[in-house]
Symmetry: C2
Subunit: 159 residues, 2 copies
Amino acid sequence: MDSTVAFRLSSLAAVVTDQFAARIEVLGLKPRHADLMAAVAGGAPRSQQDLARTLGVAPSLIVALADHLETLKALQRVRDPRDRRRQVLTLTRRGRTLLAACTAHARAVDADLTARLVPLERDMLHHVLGTLAPGRAEPQPPARTRTRTRTPAQTRPSA
Amino acid sequence: MDSTVAFRLSSLAAVVTDQFAARIEVLGLKPRHADLMAAVAGGAPRSQQDLARTLGVAPSLIVALADHLETLKALQRVRDPRDRRRQVLTLTRRGRTLLAACTAHARAVDADLTARLVPLERDMLHHVLGTLAPGRAEPQPPARTRTRTRTPAQTRPSA
DNA sequence: CTAAATGATTCAGACCCTGTATGTTTAGTT
DNA sequence: AACTAAACATACAGGGTCTGAATCATTTAG
């Protein structure tokens, strides 16, 4: 049990999340807010429904998170003129600054966490987590070419 | 942000924990119960206070978890004769069976999770998480010959 | 022998999240 | 054009998990 990846992963994540939460608390943010900002910042502007799906949470939670970020002047809600049901979320300048601060804190946690690892292990961990992280679920190209189940990933552990 | 270990770790753990929770639900257990059983099973019998510290939760939560496991006949509370304030928790036969089932489910989740990894990556991930997992804060022998439980030393991220 | 400390327990409440109900806007059908 | 169904954002109530404070029992210290 203690030796399973699932168990170790969960235990570790609990600690890491707590550390991250403690760090960004002074910014008036919780990890969920950082999650949302990161999702908003990535790629094209998106609706709240869309973001809810990406984060794997209920749409009503996005409302609450966005409300808070809005009071912090970190993001703006703008009605999509093409579809006025939608609220398009975009980060403000302040939002981008806050997100950058969160990223810095996350990296600090990383450094702390992986301090006991040799560089090789650090890279490997980073790379493997990148492969496994949700959302990165390689949209299996409906290809006919046999799914290359064991093919080593091409991507380098980039920063 | 999305590229930090902390972020990826948390995202992944959320998914993994949900999968594990879904699997052990039929056993009448939640992940926390499995956590507690694992802690109880490991090493010498311990008091609830002690277990609370190990799991990093409030003692009052141990009470609730132990209550539930007791109704399942999975564990026993016995007053420590040497210090009658303490309740010593021990798994029953049924508890050990349940824990074994949880372990099996965790391994199944592992298999599913790491299906897309090369064997080398799997071992590395397992090993690194073992190093980092809380409670395993082992004083690191200076360098070189790391605990080579399994992981071969020479490894490239993209083998 | 009294006072402080430790352990288990109960309980109230905080926090996070979901599901449902509602109003608005869009899309589809006739 | 009118009507219906679907999609979106939102408000709100409630569930689940966890903590902190209060309580009782037992042990330890002075």
